[in-house]
Every structure is written in structure tokens, then in C-alpha cells.
Amino acid sequence: MHVPPDHLFAALADPTRRGIFERLSRGGEQSVRALTAEAGVSQPAVSKHLGVLKKAGLVRDRRAGRETHYSANPKALAPLVAWLSFYAAFWSARLDKLEELLERMDQ
């Protein structure tokens, strides 16, 4: 049920897989054939990439007749978003901007 972040990182480290995941995230459910047409690699290669994404929990599959359709599961990304460190960097930068703004403002 819970995939260690390492698996997620590994699954998304490959640019072709990242591309497939992004297309599914934006475009909704798609068949392997449709994904192959866009991916620029062979159908077996796409299937293999989808297998890795599925193992990482990033995509779900659904059989429909002879075709398998895949959809993205963006919730699987949650462990990757390290909010504390994200906001630490965020506020540090924003406080710099706040001070710059105060310099520009009238009393």
C-alpha cells in the first residue's frame, strides 16, 4: 500500500517514464497504444515503463477487451513532497522579498 520514496524516485528518474506519467496526469486515462504513439519508443518498452510506474503506485491499469488502459495516481507523489524543507526554503526567500519591499515602501 505504501511505497518507499526510493521506489518513487527510481520510477521517476527515467525521463521517458516521467513523460508517460506527466501525460497521464494531464490527459487522463490512455491506452498503451496511444501512449506508444506519443512516447517515441516501442510498445514493449512503453509496457515495461508502465510496469515500473505501476509498481511504484504511480499508475493504475484497467483491462478493456484486448487493450490495457492506464491512468495516473498523483497521490503516490505525496511522500516526495517534503513540505517542511519546501516551506523552509520558501519562507526564507519570501522574507528576503518582504525586506526588499519594505525598502521601497514609503514610511
Partner: protein
């Protein structure tokens, strides 16, 4: 970074050479907030709901649905940051600004509280889907901290 119970907080403190009243304006006037923080429809009124908008990230919509919790010019400003719908993690935090006059300027303190640990998040998500939790009872028992 500090830890209280099961959540963590981020705290920033900065001495700024401007008076609290001026810092307060930068923190509470929508067009000024937009210049240093994010696009927003903030109004300094308790109970006012507003949004901050930024560029989306993977796992985050780029929007924070917020609500003003406390307004005490020019000392204290607090708002709920997010309502749990913006990211897959369901994060909801509280941002509190405290302005203290110091050395002719202001000691600005920002605290963002309510960061849950990953296990907490996992448990919360499970709580939304009891049938699935029961299906995976073993997994749940293995994961839940019984002391929590």
C-alpha cells in the same frame, strides 16, 4: 524547526529596521502581499476566506485556500494555510506573524505550524477509507504507532 506532539513547526525570526506599522501594511494589504508573497485576495478580517496563488508543483495545485484566524494590528496576524485539498498530502498548516518593536525597528516572527509526520499522513488517509483499512488490517497494525 520544533516539535510539539505529533506536528512540527517552522519558525523564522528576523530583525527588520522598519517600524511595526509599516511591516503590518506589507503583511495585510493585498497588493503589497502580492509583491513579496503571492497573488491573493486577502482582507485583514477574522473569518475572511481567501486564496494564495502560485505556480503549481508536482503534488501541489499551486493554490492555498486560507482563512484569517486572528488580526491584532500591528502585533499579530494569523491565517490557516490550506484546507487539505491542494496537495496529495492533505497538508493544513497555520501561519502566525508576530511583530515586536525592537531597537527602533521590528522583530518579525513567522511560525508555520501543523506539519504532520509521514506516518500521521498515512494513517489519516487510511481513516478515510475504512473498508480498505479492514482489508489491509495487517498492514495497518504494522504501521500505526500504538502510543500515538
Amino acid at each position: 524547526m520544533s516539535e510539539t506532539g505529533t506536528t512540527r513547526s517552522l519558525v523564522f525570526e528576523r530583525q527588520m529596521k522598519h517600524p511595526p506599522e509599516k511591516v503590518w501594511r506589507a503583511l495585510t494589504q493585498s497588493h503589497l502581499i502580492a509583491e513579496w508573497l503571492m497573488e491573493n485576495d486577502f482582507v485583514p478580517k477574522v473569518g475572511h476566506r481567501f486564496t494564495f496563488r502560485a505556480t503549481p508543483l508536482p503534488g501541489w495545485s499551486g493554490i492555498a485556500n486560507c482563512e484569517v484566524l486572528a488580526v491584532d494590528p500591528p502585533h499579530l496576524l494569523s491565517y490557516r494555510w490550506g484546507d487539505g485539498t491542494e496537495s496529495a498530502s492533505g497538508l493544513v498548516t497555520v501561519v502566525t506573524w508576530t511583530l515586536m518593536p525592537r531597537d527602533g525597528g521590528t522583530l518579525v516572527r513567522m511560525e508555520q505550524s501543523g506539519f504532520r509526520t509521514p506516518d500521521e499522513l498515512a494513517f489519516k488517509r487510511m481513516g478515510k477509507g475504512w473498508p480498505r483499512v479492514l482489508e489491509r488490517l495487517e498492514d495497518v497494525v504494522g504501521r500505526v504507532d500504538l502510543d500515538a
